[in-house]
């Protein structure tokens, strides 16, 4: 096949949709501060509230007011953990239960609470990345303040049973938070079906702009602002409204909701095509993550005998953009904490590649990647010290 440019790193970020980009450019002309009382300010504010309703609709939140706009997933997650810090310091429950495969911003926020004297449990996952429910039941009790489990994993795509996890948290009287950064726009998400108290969202994973995200907070649940100041977002998140970001988020959410069924079916089909093609093209490789309970767009494969960044650069030179769980890519000596938690072992973790598809992906893209991966792995294995 002729050389082509293939972006397969949609879990890292997505391109801005042309419709969203056009909306944001148009919105740049409306410079009014959405907190201003004059007509221009009121207009800007009403556009923001329409966006809030669109985001709420995407996640099944009946009351748009329960969505707080933030700068993104990291801020939303940190706001929840900061809230728990303030609650726990006042006495009462202090236990935090999360998992070993969370995004670094949850892991590091949890480690911060551990440093502050909060008892923190990092739950194990099985070989597919599924949370150990028995361990969860044992870990959650009358001292538990918060259970925080990501809805779907960014590296291997494994989808957790958030409804069952939230039920356990609720039965113990603990708050339930889920980081749905990788789930929103990719699988059906419903804060009520799931029964979560807090849910983190990011806009740039669903073809909207970077620098904007959201936090769903169920009515009556406490929230401590991370950024104090004015009265924006009911005082939960101060700072002048990010008009363009919020407009982009609103439209991206509206489009994601309208296209979700089609996305799940079409992208899921492309993922199967890619998986089957790679398994046929490369001997002795292994697919990581759950075989069925997985994001429709995420395929993580380990290639024994080849190192991840060497594979990544080889693909890059062919015009294919992916990511890897190898240590070298992260600048540390430890490979992907997610793959290590699933027990694949350091060698397979170092040799892992994440292919994440998106709405611009095509069968031609998939076939091109399949045509290139075989020779690349064969070349690296031929010079490798590692037998596989």
């Amino acid at each position: 096949m002729e050389r082509r440019f293939v972006y397969m790193d949609y879990n890292a970020t997505t391109p801005l949709r042309p419709e969203v980009k056009a909306e944001m450019i148009e919105d740049l002309e409306l410079y009014a501060n959405a907190s201003s009382l004059h007509e221009a300010g009121r207009k800007a504010r009403s556009r923001i509230e329409r966006s809030r309703a669109a985001v709420a609709a995407l996640i099944g939140a009946k009351d748009p007011e329960r969505v707080v706009f933030t700068s993104g997933g990291s801020e939303s997650n940190n706001t929840v953990f900061a809230t728990m810090f303030h609650l726990g310091r006042k006495g009462g429950r202090k236990g935090i239960v999360t998992t070993k495969i969370e995004h670094p911003c949850v892991l590091n926020a949890a480690k911060w609470l551990a440093d502050e004297g909060f008892p923190v449990t990092f739950l194990d996952v099985d070989e597919y990345g599924v949370v150990d429910m028995d361990q969860l039941r044992r870990a959650v009790g009358p001292e538990t303040l918060l259970v925080s489990v990501m809805a779907a994993n960014n590296e291997i795509g494994t989808v957790q049973d958030i409804r069952a996890i939230a039920a356990i948290a609720k039965a113990a009287g603990a708050y339930m938070h889920t980081d749905a950064t990788q789930s929103v726009g990719k699988i059906p998400v419903s804060v009520d079906d799931w029964g979560v108290d807090y849910m983190t969202m990011s806009c740039h994973k669903l073809y909207g702009p970077k620098g904007i995200g959201g936090l769903y907070v169920r009515e009556g649940r406490p929230l401590e602002p991370l950024i104090r100041g004015g009265h924006q977002e009911h005082g939960f998140r101060a700072g002048t409204y990010n008009n363009q970001g919020i407009m982009g988020f609103g439209l991206a959410a509206e489009l994601a909701k309208a296209e979700l069924d089609d996305y799940v079916e079409r992208i899921g089909g492309l993922r199967r095509r890619l998986r089957d093609g790679i398994l046929a093209a490369v001997p002795k490789c292994r697919v990581n993550g759950h075989p069925e309970r997985v994001l429709p767009n995420t395929l993580n494969v380990s290639f024994p005998g080849a190192e991840g960044e060497a594979i990544l650069l080889s693909l890059d030179l062919e015009g294919i953009r992916v990511s890897t769980g190898s240590a070298c890519a992260s600048g540390s000596l430890d490979p992907s904490h997610v793959l290590m938690a699933t027990g694949v072992g350091p060698e397979l973790a170092h040799g892992s590649i994440r292919f994440s598809l998106g709405r611009d992906s095509t069968e031609e893209d998939v076939d091109y990647v399949v045509s290139r991966i075989g020779p690349i792995i064969a070349r690296l294995r031929s010079m490798s010290t590692v037998s596989y």
Binding site: E307, L313, L317, E347, H350, M383, S384, V386
Partner: protein
């Protein structure tokens, strides 16, 4: 892949963020890849650990105190593969004493630099060469 240092950033001379053409060349066409049989090799070393992300095996054939032939195999990132390859180029034909004087900076310099966070990858080749020379002298 950008060949010039940070040319995208209008000549900003900060840390090197991209691989140079020489690194890409040695990664895609590594020199002296292979193995030597026990009766061919005078010196051999295996350095690193695949569990830590890189491992290198190096063989040298020595004649009159000079490295006549050199071969390597590598499991590792592009930094490890390209520096290993360049190391073999620098060491081939040298006396054992000259080979021992080769430093990480020599290897990195010959490649026109490598990104800051990849500097540690260049250590493997020089370590392996020194160990192979030591084994040849035993």
């Amino acid at each position: 892949m950008d060949s010039e240092r940070n040319d995208e950033d209008g000549g900003y001379s900060g840390p090197i963020l991209y691989y140079t053409d020489a690194v890409i060349d040695h990664f895609t066409n590594p020199r002296n890849v292979g193995e030597m049989a026990d009766d061919e090799a005078d010196g051999y070393a295996c350095i690193g650990d695949p569990g830590c992300g890189d491992e290198m095996k190096l063989w040298i054939a020595v004649r009159d105190e000079r490295i006549e032939r050199i071969a390597f195999k590598s499991y590792g990132c592009p930094g490890a593969i390209s520096t290993s390859s360049m190391l073999t180029v620098l060491a081939e034909g040298r006396t054992l004493d000259e080979a021992l004087a080769i430093t990480d900076d020599d290897v990195v310099g010959a490649l026109g630099g490598i990104p800051e966070n990849k500097q540690h990858c260049s250590l493997l080749g020089v370590k392996a060469l020194r160990a192979a020379v030591a084994s040849a002298r035993r």
